[in-house]
Symmetry: C3
Subunit: 677 residues, 3 copies
């Protein structure tokens, strides 16, 4: 594949030619060009306009819009419209609808109401996507494809009659023998034993709790099936087009991103955080580049000012925040930034959602940000060209499989996205660069890997991490990690299964520590421990944190293993328990500091480090022509201080900055390129 978008950086917004008159599309296109935009996204909800009656397909509305946009030098990301099937696909066909666990069929009138596993839906989706691919697959006005829209943002696994059958077939293909399934699912508990695959129920309502293996498998099934649909659609497009294909994902959706993007060319994401929650915006930039064939990502949707719908109004961003987002987006290596939508909707149900222009065509409160964004991007493009992003020293495993495990066993409160966001936020606030990576991502670039709250470690993953440790990596593993097998069962041989060997420990006690009076010490910190915990005796490891009271008194809760054949040049720091997740700042800072500070014994393998300015200063490191660039932006609402260790040139203003202390106002940014003193 050639370089994504021929190396262009994208700036634009979503357009709806199916909703607005052609003259409005034309005036919007003209305004987009004036604002410095070069891309539009179209078509993700357009199906009924293209195929108003079953089988009568007319693509002229798209041709017209593409022409208008092309006239203004604006390229298009064209979407398949499969997220909103026309009324003829479901009217009178209850069985084609998405069914919730309690058997409710979700009907026409919104989106994602169809069962995406249904044979007839797949057939019609193939036809409309095929038509689009044939028509526009080699159209120079189009630069990319987007599949569907935000898979599984509104629905989880489907419980329709058709899925009921597919589920049994899928299980049969996976387990072959029902005895195997019974054994691996522990169905002997509560006489759940199945005689045949077709008997296995969906996780519909029961008087008490479902089997955890069944729930885990059903999550897998649902994720595999939507990825199967994505792959199927991709194949249809690729038969006619060499354009790159993506899908707009997001943290809130019920997806296996790794499987999804394994068939796609680049990733993209939708994100609508409020300004005070800016680390949630950065999470996307730290996570999504690790998917897709090209390893590139773009921001596909965000608001110029505020999100929301009739059900909930979002708060407008403070002035300057959107520009700070644009700066961070490109600093981090993202290849595009698109607003949703360009023109605020008159009707539907997202009328209150912010846009670039109002329904009556006037500038909204987000307009000026969009304009300044265009100017900024023009400036950045030159600086970015020929440069490269430097990876951070630290990576954090963000695993959709682990997310499933925590949804199956929340233990009353744990939520994977929530606890991982908390961990990520601590790095952001400390000014430390970090990657969020799926289990399958390469570890080569990193010095340190964190793997918290992953109940089950896949053997392949464990082996790959072990290799990386032996090559010198530091693995901070736990808490809540490695205590279950692939079917969400405890191991039957050891508390932490295969992890114990490389960690150099023996898991002795495993229990929920909350309320147990368990207090502990670690590097001077003292406090209580909470949550599902494992406490250890050391075999080859040395204890770093010890339990002082409670049922586990005398056992270790943090250990470090190094200098053994299993750890080679690296080390494994195992955390068996923490105070209420990662919520104790002192302990977490100690842990992070301990794991990430190079020393004689564990020299850092990467060279460049962030300033660690903190106080809302977000930093991305880039290199161009051998020179280190510090892209610095204050994402917080208070003025921050930072100290430049070397003299630099600020590239946006092209002025010299001596080494020394500087103040960075809220939502402002600089690019400090090191120069010889």
């Amino acid at each position: 594949m050639a370089e994504l978008f021929d190396g262009r950086l994208l700036y634009g917004a979503a357009l709806y030619p199916e909703v607005w008159d052609k003259n409005i599309v034309a005036s919007d296109a003209a305004l987009m060009a004036k604002l410095g935009m070069n891309v539009a996204r179209m078509g993700e909800f357009i199906w009924s306009a293209l195929e108003p009656d079953e089988g009568r397909i007319d693509l002229s509305i798209l041709h017209d819009a593409l022409n208008i946009l092309d006239d203004h030098g604006i390229a298009t990301i064209l979407c398949t419209p499969t997220v909103t099937p026309p009324i003829w696909l479901t009217h009178g066909h209850q069985g084609r609808l998405h069914h919730t666990a309690d058997g409710t069929a979700l009907g026409h009138g919104s989106r994602q109401h169809v069962c995406t596993n249904g044979a007839y839906f797949r057939e019609r989706a193939a036809i409309i996507t095929g038509a689009l691919a044939r028509e526009f697959g080699q159209d120079r006005r189009v630069i990319s494809w987007q599949l569907d829209n935000e898979f599984k943002s509104h629905v989880g696994g489907c419980h329709c009659p058709s899925c009921r059958d597919l589920w049994g077939q899928w299980l049969e293909a996976k387990y072959q023998d029902i005895a195997q399934l019974n054994e691996q699912w522990s169905t002997a508990v509560w006489s759940e034993t199945y005689q045949s695959f077709d008997q296995i129920p969906l996780p519909a309502p029961t008087p008490f709790l479902h089997n955890t293996a069944l729930m885990t498998a059903f999550n897998d099934f649902s994720q595999v099936k939507i990825n199967e649909f994505a792959a199927e659609q991709s194949r249809i497009i690729r038969a006619h087009s060499e354009l790159p294909i993506t899908h707009n994902s997001g943290f809130g959706f019920d997806l296996d991103n790794q499987g999804l993007y394994s068939n796609l060319d680049y990733s993209s994401f939708d994100t609508y955080p409020a300004a005070p929650n800016y680390p949630a915006f950065l999470m996307n930039l730290d996570y999504f580049p690790h998917f897709g064939a090209s390893g590139k990502t773009i921001l596909m949707e965000t608001s110029t000012s505020h999100g929301g719908s009739i059900a909930n109004y979002g708060s407008p961003h403070p002035a300057g925040f959107v520009e700070a987002e644009i700066f961070a987006n490109f600093a981090a290596g993202s290849k595009g930034f698109l607003f949703w939508p360009f023109r605020q909707h008159c009707g539907g149900s997202e009328q209150p959602h912010g846009a670039v222009v109002s329904p009556w065509g006037a500038p909204t409160i987000g307009f000026s940000s969009a304009a300044r964004g265009g100017e900024l991007l023009a400036q950045l493009e030159t600086i970015l060209t020929g440069g490269e992003t430097l990876p951070p020293r630290v990576a954090i495993t963000y695993s959709d499989r682990a997310k499933t495990a925590l949804s199956v066993e929340p233990g009353g409160k744990l939520d994977y996205r929530g606890v991982l966001s908390g961990i990520h936020r601590r790095f952001v606030e400390a000014g430390i660069g970090r990657a969020l990576i799926p289990e399958g991502a390469s570890l080569d670039a990193y010095d340190v890997l964190l793997t918290p709250y992953a109940h089950h470690l896949d053997p392949e993953f464990l082996e790959r991490v072990s290799d990386w440790v032996r090559a010198g990596g530091t693995w901070l593993v736990g808490p809540g990690t490695a205590d279950r097998d692939a079917h969400h069962r405890w191991h039957s041989d050891a508390a932490l299964g295969a992890l114990e060997s490389i960690a150099g420990v023996r898991g002795v006690l495993a229990f929920p520590a909350t309320g147990s009076g368990t207090s502990a010490e670690f590097l001077g910190w003292q406090g209580g421990l909470d949550g599902m915990s494992t406490f250890m005796e050391c075999t080859t490891a040395r204890p770093l944190g010890m339990v002082r009271s409670g049922p586990a008194a005398g056992l270790a809760f943090v250990t470090e293993n190094q200098g053994t054949p299993e750890t080679g040049d690296g080390r494994v720091i195992l955390v068996g328990s923490l105070p209420d997740g990662f919520e104790d700042p002192l302990l977490v800072d100690l842990l992070i500091g301990y794991a990430t500070t190079p020393s004689k014994t564990w020299p850092a393998r990467t060279e460049a480090r962030e300033l660690g300015a903190g106080g809302g200063v977000v930093e991305y490191l880039r290199r161009k022509k051998g020179r280190l660039q510090r892209w610095l932006v204050n994402m917080s609402d208070t003025t921050a201080e930072l100290e430049l260790p070397f003299p630099t040139t600020e590239l946006l203003s092209n002025t010299n900055m001596n080494a020394g202390k500087y103040r960075l106002e809220p939502y402002t940014y600089i690019i400090a390129e090191e120069r010889n003193a």
Copy 2:
């Protein structure tokens, strides 16, 4: 029509001859007479006693009860019993039941469980009501009809299969052409486009939000249909009877009162507020006289002491509160006051509800209030006779259509009844008289009209208000008003559509201001603004309140237009935003004060004004033989002060009161008639 009830004031309670033995009815009737009561209400739940088997109708139980009551000089309001169909109407006929949005059929065993749009229900309802009308339509023991009971107090729109069809037919009749509907509903958004009317779903569960035009239309449909039933029943009665017909409505029900009472002779209401929430009691008196052919209302149901059921116990009223309610009721012009029920129920599910006598026939805690009420009414009747109620200077639009709009778009928190109650309460607490009027009510009597939180202004309403403004009225319009069309869409031409012209503004920005840092000034007040807001530039208006910070800095949030051809002798004060609804007391007082204080430029068109005593003192102005009467009652639990500007005669005690300051104890009342000094 003759004067309602031949000019009598009604005082009484609800009786259940279908529940109690004849001798108990007789002893209750005797006690009613002793308590000064002259009316009973009967029959709203009696159907199964009249028609125990389908088609076998026997009305003797009513004859017997009417005779007993008549023997004690007690007249009867006779109800049609359609709210509780007998078991034979629904048993084995699931399709005749009311169905909720999730498809649940609500069954026999309570009330309102039948779909009131069903053909067979309508047929049986016509038969039983016809039988009653023929039998009692000209019976001198009966003085009025009540239709059914509290329409839609327990259920919203029905989702039964029959309603599914009626909905499509109703839409077809309204829109004629499906293209028209698609256009006006913006169904192009999310490919919701319909090919035919029969495809349009009820607002049943979907994965995400429904189209707002569809939700708005379904609310209309449900309200139109219940009013159609009421009209149908009225016609049946009128074929045999000239007695006035009413229905007992209430603020909590899902109704279009204007449409409902357009076929009825007078309004009536049920109300059960706790004493500290006494403004909610007054809301009824300020609102319900604006409906029905006669422009009269009666209180049809309230408790002697406390409401409640097995699910929730109400708190008993403090001593004297019920008497204060009776005083306020007649002071405001209501023609009747009835308790529910006379005798506390033994069984059913409202056993804990207060009454006049206990299930075992003894006086309850409410008995003495009922007795004093009878004495009070005897006294008041003489004073009231020949007098008239004076309308207040201020009217507030209370629109069932606007209520629908806010239920469709709550934006996370807004509730129409709640915010309007808040506005109403500020007038009550300031001691300012006020009317709550539907959109269709005449404005002639008022100086000032408030129209807050009405997303859509009907063109006819806007034109009528404009006429009234030109004739000298002051219109305080907004916030949250006029920003949508009849299909809940933004206007496509201007932020506030046709309102902008008469308001003399151009709406520039519209966004939810909460959290946006929007601060503003108005007549010395300074503070933050919240909620869905519109900010304006003035064309002919002058800015009264200005935004100082946030995205709308420099725009106006309150403007005043006058002296233009559009405003004539009046003025339009437009409020684009407020701090969190009407919750900022200072600003609201400023606004109310500004709008309601006469000045050289805007002289008051009405003469008499309330004392504005505040502190719980509620005042109604009446006039008799040219003399102004101030009916004053302290509805609060603390002693209030008031100052009489002129010497008066207190009519209850027939004593003179000089001009000067007086104290009014909790729940006490006086009638101060002005006299020559």
Copy 3:
């Protein structure tokens, strides 16, 4: 029947030979023996392992496990496995599933998913239980039967089509004549009148509240039906076995325990309270001995450390708490103590639940408690042999019928188990012994009976209590008691019906007092009263507590009747109202103190009294060879003080303790046997 378990005390845990390999069962059995355990419970979830295909029954897995256990000297309580029917019983048979009120069928994958009233379920249950009874009914390795598991712990009354029919039939059998039902249910209210029994609906969703008589009857129906199933299963077993039969009940389940155990030989219970809620543990010991033919109970399930599931983690008990539970259990006269489970489950959904050994076979945090428990029991057994438990002076009525009434009429907040637990806790904290007894239990042993929150008093119960009063008992009755009939209706003759005569009062006013400004005095206490209340005039009684303000001012809220023919040698203290349930500590202490303190007029009929040490000290009185033993255990987490009035011998340490003050550390215990000074 011979003495239960031949007089042995049981100590053990639940085993799952259907889940674990035989060698694991063997090693667990060996460990059990080492820990001093003598009993295993097996089989309550084993059905699919015994009958994997319909009709193919193979019991060898049980034989094998029984052999292994027998080899280690461990006897077995064998359970019928009817709580978890195999997949073949329900797959493809939706109609056999338990249906909730909203019509949801609860499916396979958990437990209690079958309708236990279904004919085919009953047939298959009879077959499997018959097979077990035939095979093991006279097996010396088995010592008892347990029916099913925790009836109705997860489900309430079933709404399946079959139950719909059974309900009508049951009502017909009970009421014979539909007119009778209509009359007694007050169906004339709201036209609910039924023409035939088959029309009467289950209490499925309605727009508003159901008839309280219908709800009460449906609760009765459900409880009668599950007891019918238990009786049916018992008969099947007894045809082949003379072993005692029990069922493991619990406070949280929707059961009529009196009816249930009327067919069983002894009671047993499951209990998982957290340590700070130790009175909830004691409630079981105070309650369950009053059921079953033998009047004996055993603790069938509790945790070694913490309960919980994937949905909620419990907190581990503090060290020593489980031993304190074991001590209290046997002190109170319970005949057994079993942990659940012995080995923590690998899979299923209760993986986080504590056990004796971990899934990988290592000691858990509960292991040491289990070991110390074995040692303790060995010591206790000698002391217990030949001794007897002394009943306390005070009994509290705990009525499943009263529980139903409060669930039918919660009035917004009341929960029977909650308020009764609150009352029970006050006795525990005051160190006063108490029995919780069902309505049918003998009163002979007690001086004082409390009967709070029993809306309806059965005539038979009232007569029996009256006899006991006349024989010298003190009855503290109320609040919330005797104000309704068997159909949850107010009495039509008197506020408190037949109670008024023996209480010597006339109920004057009945209303919910919360918020009514009702303040009162009682023995120096002054305060407000709340909740549904009855206020009285005295006929023969004397007023003890008087209302000073509010609607009931001048009436009594506590009265005492004695010295009349109705009260004989006893007295009736009637409480008509209390401050917010039993939540005012001062008033409650006064009441308890007044009722339980012997005086000249009311001498105590029982001799021995507890020390009343309070502060967490729980005391059970026992007698052996004429000597009084005080079994004292500190269940709280703080050190307690107690004073021994006589010199004693501490039997566990065999040391003498002089009269005087002693400190008792948390979770420690002594057995102080009085000796001659």
